[in-house]
Amino acid sequence: MKEIYFDHAATTPMDKEVAELVFKYTTEYFGNPSSMHNFGQRMRSAVENARKQVAYAIGAKSVGEIAFCSGGTEANNMAILGAARANKQKGNHIITTAVEHHSVLTTCKRLANEGFELTILPVDKYGTVSVQDVVNAVTDKTILVSIMHANNEIGSIMPIAEIGKALKKLSNKIIFHTDAVQSIGKLPVNVDDLNVDILTISAHKIYGPMGVGAMYLRQGTWWQPIMYGGGQERRRRPGTENAPGIIGFGKAIELAMERQKEYVERLTKLRDKLVKMVFDRIPDVILNGHPTNRLSGHVSLCIKYIESEALMLYLNMQGIALSSGSACTSVSPEPSHVLAAIGVSREDANSAIRITLGKDNTDEEVERFVEALADIVSKLRAMSPVAKGDCSSCACEKCV
């Protein structure tokens, strides 16, 4: 039985071209990019080429604005801790939203413990923050606003460009950060169009290697490092670079930009087909997030009267891989903070699954998935004491 992978928001398979490059720069070529001999300098020039590729992809004016690190979480920590601590003398107020990734939300809460004032803005039922709410939250002490570009759990898209524009009008001391880990390769990500000062991305969500990410830091932005050591990455991220990873990241982002239009068109169609098929086949299903203003290939569903772990494991037995709720919350019994923020009840949140399609998924896979899902859902609902019966004549508690 061919396995089906529907969990591309968790991670993606590395592109063959990228993998070959990473392999080449771990075997044929190797060396510490800081070394002055040929071994080191060959790596250095490949790392700097990757920096150009990343800078070009996101519209950075200078390659010096890109600092590589270990991934999205580290990049978000660098962005938030570094910007807040460096601008403490200008103010102590930070604004974020209730649906951010844990690497943003937990980091902001850490700063609140250090004496910063934190405003966590609510979102509407689609998971979107309003520009006006952000503007209203700004005080003369606000130094940092951190709002994700697209949500990892429900795929909703934030009005980053509009927020950035409004913030620039309000004050010149506010640093605006966006976590673009989920949107890069799926939405246009240009630092000038988005009006951001800091932007963070990760390689393994765009068919690149795991363990590598980047922080874009606009020239002239006050910022300080969160780690100290050698002078790598212009002192923004000390430690020997993950050179093969960075080189792979450069290739991955280049390919992502080349193929973005094609992927988005295809995966939007495939996503809409999947949603329609599910709604046609299965009653009592809720689509989380906005029906159209969402990431291509991203579907978040609550399938009422069942528990998503059971559903996910039954699907797994049939070779179909997806996430129950969000991957990060599956290790803790707490319901998803994102679903809670958009007003999903605790019971319904327990039934949430996330299907995230990728470049290699096909129509046939979507069809096989919906068949399997419909079977498993009826099996689980038959087992569930709270599911509504479909008997029209019955007047029991469950059916009325």
Binding site: A310, N350, M383, P385, V386
Partner: protein
């Protein structure tokens, strides 16, 4: 994450369903995760002759319910009342610690069903 016994009871749960003319029913919900288990009993001469369950819950909750019904079937009400939460988890060969609370539902629902039977028949019980 789960051992083979748990996965076996999860993928092929025993005694799933409803007993329409049940002699007793017990239902419990977990306040911490929203899982719910309902146990139906058929009792003859003080013995559990049939038992069925319905569960809304994770793999641990479903496997525990299934295991519990196997443990309780054929036992007298008195014996069945003594089945503890831990014994259900032990019979499954153990569960991940954070999933233990899910396995509590099964034994609790059985106990409630037996209480329901005793109350119906005005039998004193301790």
């Amino acid at each position: 994450m789960y051992n083979e016994t748990v996965m076996d009871h999860f993928s092929n749960p025993r005694n799933v369903g409803v007993i329409e003319d049940a002699d007793a029913v017990g239902e419990v919900g977990s306040p911490s995760c929203g899982d719910t288990t309902k146990v139906f009993l058929k009792v003859k001469d003080g013995k559990i002759v049939d038992i069925k369950f319905q569960t809304l819950g994770c793999a641990a909750a479903i496997a525990s319910s299934s295991m519990l019904t196997e443990m309780a079937k054929g036992k007298t009400l008195e014996e069945a009342m003594k089945i503890t939460r831990d014994e259900v988890a032990e019979s499954l060969g153990g569960l991940p610690e954070k999933k233990l609370h899910c396995s509590n539902l099964a034994a609790d629902a059985l106990r409630k069903a037996i209480e329901n039977y005793y109350n119906k028949h005005k039998i004193d019980w301790v």
